[in-house]
Structure formats: structure tokens, C-alpha cells
Symmetry: none
Subunit: 248 residues, 2 copies
């Protein structure tokens, strides 16, 4: 869904990640949503080694760049977005809700910019100093009772928003419901209604005086159900069989 150029224009930056499982989870989410460039700032060396050498580690972990500071990591970025909970601090820069971030980053990438998406350490998040390298802060709208997200999950949600939402906006508009089956034509529904009605009669479903009302209700029911052409034929086959059996 992303072009190679677009993939190249987003850097995911992890500042001092601690948990190797979280590092792996971020890498996996990147691969899931088609991003390839990972930078890791001042990682805790043993855990970083463990994450990189883990069985099944993404190729992109192997290709990840390590830098000593956030300043170096985002040096080539034209727009840097910092993530984290805003519950405990007063933001000093513009705050953008995640659902609004995608298109903003996309526009930056399309005008030739390079975007950095920065995640802080698991425990404390980005420091005020870290945040000073960010053009804006991303707010993932979470419940006030449990606002703080797991690193791997926060990354997945952000990358989903960017990849499947912002960049899919074009695709979504062209031919969405192509896979849905053709609805049965009215004539088919009438045929079906006729056979069901005969079945009702054969089964003494209701007194003769009710038949007119039943026919009307049945017609409405079939349209509420709105079976596909194939399903209507299936149901017709079943009722024909039942009718044949009842008539014997």
C-alpha cells in the first residue's frame, strides 16, 4: 500500500528502549504496516543485542541504525512527532490527536519531507529535553483511567493510522464494495415467495383468511433479509424439496 519512496520517508525512533520484547514488537508492527527505517537512540546494550539476535527478528532490526542522541537520530527529519501520555505534563508544543496526524504526516512526506515518529522509554516516556526536538506531540486518545499504552501497541496503533488510514484514503474511495455478492433480483424473490407460500399452505401454517396478509409479510421479510442471488437460489432449492416432501 505504501510506495518504496513513502516507506523511506518515515523513521521510527526508539529512545532508550529497555525491553527486548518491546523492541521486537515495534519492529514487527513496522513490518506489518510496511515501514522499514528504524533508529534506536542510546539503547541499553545487552537488551538491544538480545532483540537484534532473537529468532525471527525482522530484517529491519538488523538494518536499524543506532545513535547516541535523539538530535542525531532525527537530524534528517523535516517533521518530528513525539508520542506519549499527556496526562502528567503540560505540552509545550502543538498537540495533534492521532486520528488527525496521518494526513498531516502524509502531506509532509509528499512534499519531499522526511518524518520522524519518536517513542520514549517504557517507564518514563520522552523527557522534556527529548520533546524539544519534536515539532508536535501526538495524542493517542485513551481512557483517562488507563491512559498509558504499551510501547509495541502504541507503535502498532500509530503505524496503522499512518499506513492503513492516511495512505489508504485514496484506495478507499475507488471501488470499495467490489467483493460483495450480487443481490437477488426482485423476480427471484417473487419466485421464492411463491414457493414459500405454497409450503405454508401445504403445512397448514395459518388459516386461509390470513393468506393475503402472510403473502404481504413474506414479501417484506425477503426484502429485509436481502439475500444474494446465490443464497436466494439455495433457499429456493430447500423449500422446493420441503414442498415436494409435504405433497407426497
Amino acid at each position: 500500500m505504501l510506495t518504496e519512496d513513502q516507506r523511506e520517508r518515515l523513521e521510527v525512533v526508539l529512545v532508550s528502549p529497555r525491553n527486548p520484547l518491546n523492541i521486537g514488537a515495534v519492529a514487527r508492527a513496522m513490518a506489518n504496516f510496511g515501514f522499514a527505517r528504524l533508529k534506536v537512540v542510546a539503547p541499553y546494550a545487552p537488551h538491544w543485542q538480545e532483540a537484534r539476535s532473537a529468532v525471527g527478528a525482522e530484517a529491519l532490526l538488523g538494518a536499524a541504525t543506532e545513535t547516541a542522541t535523539l538530535a542525531v537520530a532525527v537530524a534528517g527529519c523535516t517533521l518530528v512527532a513525539g508520542t506519549g501520555t499527556l496526562a502528567y505534563r503540560k505540552p509545550e508544543q502543538r498537540v495533534v490527536r492521532l486520528p488527525d496526524l496521518g494526513l498531516l504526516l502524509r502531506r509532509e512526506m509528499e512534499r519531499g519531507g522526511r518524518v520522524g515518529l519518536v517513542f520514549g522509554p517504557e517507564k518514563h516516556g520522552l523527557t522534556r529535553e527529548d520533546l524539544s526536538y519534536c515539532h508536535l506531540l501526538v495524542e493517542i486518545p485513551t481512557d483517562a483511567r488507563q491512559p498509558s499504552m504499551n510501547l509495541g501497541q502504541a507503535a502498532a496503533v500509530c503505524l496503522y493510522e499512518l499506513s492503513a488510514r492516511a495512505f489508504a484514503a485514496d484506495e478507499a474511495t475507488k471501488g470499495t464494495a467490489s467483493s460483495s455478492a450480487t443481490a437477488a433480483a426482485s423476480a427471484r424473490l417473487e419466485l421464492l415467495a411463491g414457493v414459500v407460500e405454497q409450503t405454508m399452505v401445504a403445512a397448514d401454517y395459518s388459516p386461509a383468511a390470513m393468506r393475503e396478509a402472510n403473502r404481504h409479510d413474506l414479501r417484506l421479510l425477503l426484502r429485509r433479509l436481502g439475500p444474494s442471488e446465490r443464497d436466494a437460489r439455495r433457499i429456493l432449492g430447500l423449500f422446493r424439496r420441503i414442498l415436494w416432501k409435504l405433497d407426497r
Copy 2:
């Protein structure tokens, strides 16, 4: 962002989860996005115990319900959405891309329905049998080179879409489809499927060897039709009458 009523109308259902960390991650994502109802189907007992007793486990893990089968877990749901990779199988029901799912689920919840969001075991995902209890399949748009998501991350992305996207879209779409009827709950569809199946047998609809396949197809058919509670009861009444007549 979600009302208490909305929180109550979504069930997250995990089928045979293995990894306690994943169970915890799903619970955390639920708490992050304001959902509270978790059901676990046939969990691997030691890992389920471990997840529940983990330090910092969410209250909702303690309150989670355990069921033996998926049928029981979703019995009260009027709309069941199954998740998983579609790369390896041909879907038998409607496929909805995640960005389009939120509003659909929201509408169902607003008309008084109850929604089930079902996740399969980590390794193999939902089986064909599991999927036959689902009205639709959710497709998370992922990169073809790495389509398969981690369980906790997939749950986070789905719940984000529902909570932060669908319910945040708010005032714009308020009160659109308020008049439509409540969908039949999964348990009602199962009851109906049972009676239709007996009718098929009584009418010698197909050879005994086909019954298993017919049952599967019937379950899918009823979910495609998606009758309202009232319509499901009407159809049930008709088939009971037919069955009674055939049995005489």
C-alpha cells in the same frame, strides 16, 4: 469517550490464547481504549492462571468470563466479527476492512445490539468452524510481505479504530440509522439453524454424508441474511410448523 452503555456492548473474545503476555496485552489495550468485557474460550489453563494472577493485571482480567466454546461466548451477540489473516484462506463471509468496521459496529451497538470481536489462537488463528459463528471478517490492511500481526497489537489496533475513530467521529453522524430493528442474537440463530437442519433431514434434503457440510453452510447463510430478532422468530415459527407437519 465511550459511555458506560457502549463499553458494555462490546465483548472481546479470545479463542484458546496461549501466551500469558498476549492475554495481558489484550487486557491492557482494552483498558486503554475503555472496554471492559473480556471472554476467554477454552484457554490453556496454566497460562490463563498465570495471566490472571500477573502483577498489574487489569481488573478486567479478573472479571473475564471463561467459556468452553465460542458458540457459548458469543451467544448473546447480535454481530460477531472475526479477525485474522486472509492471506491463506478464501473467506466464506463478508470481509470488512478495519477502517470501515468502526462505524458498522457502532451502528449495531447504538441500535441496541451487542458486538463480539473474536481473536484466534496465536499460531493458527480462527478455524473454519470458529469463523462460521462470525457475521463478517475483519481485514487489518497489512503489508503482503508480513501480513500476520501479534495478538496484542492486533487487538490494540482494532480497539483504537473502534474507540478513537468510530466513536470519536461523533456529532457528525449522530442518529442516522436509529429506526432499524435489533439483530437476532447468535444463540437465536443457532436455535434456528438446528430446526432448519432437522427439517432438512425430515425432508431428505441431502444424503447423510453431506450433513456436516450443510450445517456449516447453513450457519454462514443465516449470518449473511442477518435477520432481526423478530424475523428470526417468524422464520423459526414457520420451520417448526413445517417440521411438525413432516413428522406426522
